[in-house]
C-alpha cells in the first residue's frame, strides 16, 4: 500500500537487543562442545606428546617406535638401578589386541543381526511393525553399559559360554574372558547398526526396488541383490561407526573382560583393553607425574586417534553414498 508510513516495516538495529542476545547465547551453546573437544585434545597432547613446563610428557620418555612395536606392556618407572628384568615396557599391543578382539567379536555379533534387523524393518515390516520396533531399539540403545557388563559376567559367561564350551568342546574357561565382553558389546551396538543401516536402506529409491520386482525377483532377491548392494557404502559407514563405538566402549569390557595384560588372539583369555587399562590406572594411587599416570594419556590419545580416523572415514563414505542418490 502506497499510503503506509515508510517507517512501518523498517528494521531498526537497536530495537531488538533481545534477538541479538539469543543469537549470542545459542552461539555459546554451539561453542561449548567444540571448546570441550579442543580442551581434551590439548590435555591429551600435553601429557602424552609434549609438555612445555618442567615436567616431561609420555613420549618424551618413551619413543613412539617402542610404543607402536613392543609387544610388552609393563608400566613401571624406568631406573638405571633396577635390573633389566624389572624395566618398564610400553608397547601398546597387549592392550590394543584386547580392544581389537572385543571390537572384532562385537562386529561378528552385531553386523549380521543389525543388518538383518535393518533389512526386516526396511523391506519386510509394515508400518505397524516398524512403529513398534524402532522405539524398542532406541530403548535398547539407552540401557546403561554397566548393566550390559553384569549381564555378560552373570549370564553370558556362566550360563552360555562355560557350559557350551565345556560340554561340547571340553574347554574350561574363566569367568572373565574377551569373548563374553565382545558378545555383550556386540549386543550393545546392534541397535545402532540396525538404526543407521535402516536409514540408508530406506533411502534407496523405490524405483530400484520396482525394477527388481519387475524382473521376477522375490522380496529376498530384491533385498539382497538390489537394495543392500545399492546401499553398501552407507551400510559400511554404519559398521565403521559401530566398530569405533565398540573400541571406545569401557564399562562393559572392564567388568567382563578381566584384568590380565596379555598379547593374544585367544577369545577365551582374560584380557585388559585400552579403556579398561585407563579406568584401572585412574583408580591407582600414582602421582600425577608418574609414568603410569602419563601412560593413561598416551593410551587415551591412541584411542582418540583410532576412533577419530574411523569416524572421519565413515563420514566420508556416507557423504559419497548420499551424493549417489541426491
Amino acid at each position: 500500500m502506497s499510503t503506509a508510513r515508510p517507517s512501518m516495516f523498517q528494521r531498526s538495529r537497536s530495537a531488538n537487543p533481545k534477538e541479538q542476545l539469543i543469537h549470542v547465547l545459542l552461539l555459546c551453546c554451539a561453542l561449548v562442545s567444540i571448546l570441550t573437544t579442543l580442551g581434551i585434545v590439548v590435555v591429551l597432547l600435553r601429557s602424552a606428546v609434549y609438555n612445555p613446563g618442567p615436567k616431561t610428557a609420555f613420549f618424551e620418555e618413551v619413543s613412539l617406535g617402542e610404543f607402536l612395536t613392543d609387544t610388552r606392556w609393563k608400566p613401571v618407572e624406568r631406573s638405571q638401578l633396577s635390573p633389566e628384568a624389572d624395566q618398564g615396557h610400553f608397547g601398546i599391543w597387549p592392550l590394543l589386541s584386547g580392544t581389537l578382539m572385543v571390537a572384532v567379536i562385537a562386529s561378528l555379533v552385531s553386523v549380521p543381526t543389525g543388518l538383518g534387523a535393518a533389512i526386516y524393518m526396511s523391506e519386510y515390516a509394515g508400518p505397524r511393525e516398524r512403529s513398534f520396533l524402532k522405539p524398542v531399539l532406541e530403548i535398547l540403545a539407552g540401557i546403561p553399559t554397566v548393566v550390559y557388563g553384569f549381564f555378560a559376567l552373570h549370564f553370558i559367561t556362566p550360563m552360555i559360554l562355560q557350559p557350551v564350551l565345556k560340554h561340547v568342546f571340553g574347554i574350561e574357561i574363566g569367568l572373565f574372558n574377551v569373548a563374553s565382553a565382545g558378545i555383550v558389546v556386540g549386543i550393545m551396538v546392534t541397535p545402532m547398526i540396525a538404526s543407521l543401516s535402516e536409514d540408508v536402506l530406506r533411502s534407496v529409491p523405490r524405483s530400484l526396488r520396482e525394477a527388481g520386482y519387475a524382473l521376477g525377483s522375490t522380496r529376498f532377491d530384491v533385498s539382497m541383490r538390489v537394495v543392500v548392494p545399492a546401499a553398501l557404502s552407507g551400510i559400511l559407514a554404519a559398521f565403521l561407526l559401530a566398530f569405533s563405538r565398540a573400541i571406545g566402549e569401557t564399562m562393559a569390557v572392564t567388568i567382563a573382560g578381566g584384568h590380565k595384560v596379555l598379547f593374544s588372539v585367544n577369545p577365551f583369555e582374560e584380557m585388559r583393553t585400552m579403556t579398561g587399562y585407563m579406568v584401572h590406572q585412574s583408580f591407582g594411587d600414582n602421582s600425577a607425574d608418574s609414568i603410569q599416570n602419563k601412560s593413561i594419556y598416551a593410551i587415551g590419545l591412541a584411542l582418540f586417534v583410532i576412533t577419530l580416523s574411523i569416524n572421519i572415514a565413515s563420514q566420508w563414505i556416507l557423504r559419497k553414498f548420499r551424493e549417489v542418490y541426491q
Binding site: G126, S207, L208, R209, E210, A211, G212, Y213, A214, L215, G216, S217, T218, D221, R225, V226, P229, A230, V324
Partner: protein, 293 residues
C-alpha cells in the same frame, strides 16, 4: 511436427467435420516394422482384459476396461495425465500389488490364464511380462551384471551361458556395439538413452513374451527417443509390446493399435491409423486434435 489439417479449419467447418466420419488427419510415417493398418482380428490375443476395475483404497481409477492386445504387435495407451494409463499397465504384471491398499476386479487373461487370481505366482508372471519404466533404473552395478540380473535371480550360474545371453540381449536392445568393450563398467556412467536401452536389454534377459513400457522415452532427447522408437519397431517382430505415451506423434509412429483412456474409461481402441484419422468417438478426436489434455 504434425499439423493436423483439422486445426486449420474454421470453427464451423470443424464442427461439421467432427460429426462426419471422414475426418482427415495427417499422421507421421510409422517406424520400420510397424504396420498401422494391420487387421488385428486375425491375430491371436496375447493379453485380454475383461471388465477390469481398479481402486486405490476407496478411490476407483479404472472403470470396466475391456482391451485385447494382439500377439507380436505394439499397442499404445494414450490419454491425458492421470487417466489411468500407468495403473492399467501395472496391473498387467501385478506391479500394483506392491502398493498398499489397492484392489482390482475383473480378469486379465495371459496365455489363457487369469493372472488376477491369488494363486498366480507373480514372480513367474513378471518374468513372462517384462517392464521398462519412465525413469531409467539401472542398478548401481556393472553393465554386465545389470543384464545378467534376471537370469541370475532365476538361478543361472554358468558364466558362459550368462555371457551369451548378455550379448544377445544387448544386441536386441541395439546397445551391444556401444558397450561391448566396457561391460565391466558401471551402468550409471551410461547416457540417459543408453541407460534406457540397457533397461530394455535387462528386461529381455528374463525371456519375456510381453514387454510393458511406461513412457520409456519421455525423459530422453529427440535422438535417443527415435532410437527407442526404432527399437520398438524391431522388437515387435518377436514380442508383444504395450507402451504408454503422452506423446501422440510417438503413439502414431510406433503402434499398430491405439487405446485412448479418459478419466479411467477406455474410450476407444482400434488400428492406429483409424484412431488418428477417423476416430469414432468425439472425445478421442478432441484429444488427438489437441483440444484438451
Amino acid at each position: 511436427m504434425v499439423t493436423f489439417i483439422e486445426t486449420l479449419r474454421s470453427p464451423i467447418e470443424r464442427k461439421a467435420m467432427a460429426t462426419s466420419p471422414t475426418t482427415v488427419l495427417r499422421v507421421p510415417p510409422a517406424v520400420a516394422g510397424v504396420d498401422r493398418d494391420m487387421d488385428m482380428s486375425q491375430h491371436p490375443a496375447a493379453i485380454t482384459a475383461r471388465g477390469m476395475n481398479f481402486y486405490y483404497g476407496e478411490n476407483q481409477v479404472l472403470f470396466d476396461v475391456n482391451l485385447t492386445v494382439p500377439e507380436r504387435s505394439v499397442t499404445a495407451l494414450i490419454g491425458p495425465s492421470g487417466c489411468g494409463k500407468s495403473t492399467f499397465l501395472r496391473t498387467l504384471n501385478r506391479m500394483n500389488d506392491l502398493i498398499e491398499g489397492t484392489r482390482c476386479t475383473g480378469e486379465v487373461l495371459i496365455q489363457g490364464q487369469n493372472i488376477m487370481e491369488p494363486a498366480v505366482d507373480v514372480v513367474l508372471l513378471r518374468k513372462h511380462v517384462g517392464m521398462v519404466f519412465q525413469k531409467s533404473t539401472p542398478f548401481p552395478k556393472s553393465i554386465f551384471d545389470n543384464v545378467a540380473y534376471g537370469p541370475r535371480v532365476a538361478g543361472e550360474r554358468n558364466r558362459a551361458i550368462l555371457a551369451d545371453l548378455v550379448e544377445s540381449c544387448l544386441q536386441k536392445a541395439a546397445l551391444w556395439e556401444e558397450v561391448k568393450d566396457r561391460l565391466g563398467e558401471s551402468a550409471m556412467a551410461l547416457s540417459g538413452g543408453q541407460q534406457q536401452r540397457l533397461c530394455i536389454a535387462r528386461a529381455l534377459a528374463t525371456n519375456p513374451q510381453i514387454l510393458l513400457m511406461d513412457e520409456p522415452a519421455s525423459a530422453l532427447d529427440p535422438a535417443s527417443t527415435s532410437r527407442i522408437e526404432d527399437l520398438i519397431g524391431e522388437l515387435c517382430a518377436n514380442y508383444t509390446i504395450v507402451i504408454v505415451t503422452h506423446n501422440m506423434q510417438q503413439a502414431s509412429r510406433v503402434s499398430h493399435q491405439t487405446a485412448f483412456f479418459f478419466e479411467g474409461n477406455l474410450v476407444e481402441v482400434g488400428p492406429t491409423t483409424q484412431i488418428f484419422t477417423s476416430p469414432s468417438q468425439k472425445k478421442t478426436e478432441d484429444y488427438i486434435t489437441g483440444r484438451f489434455g
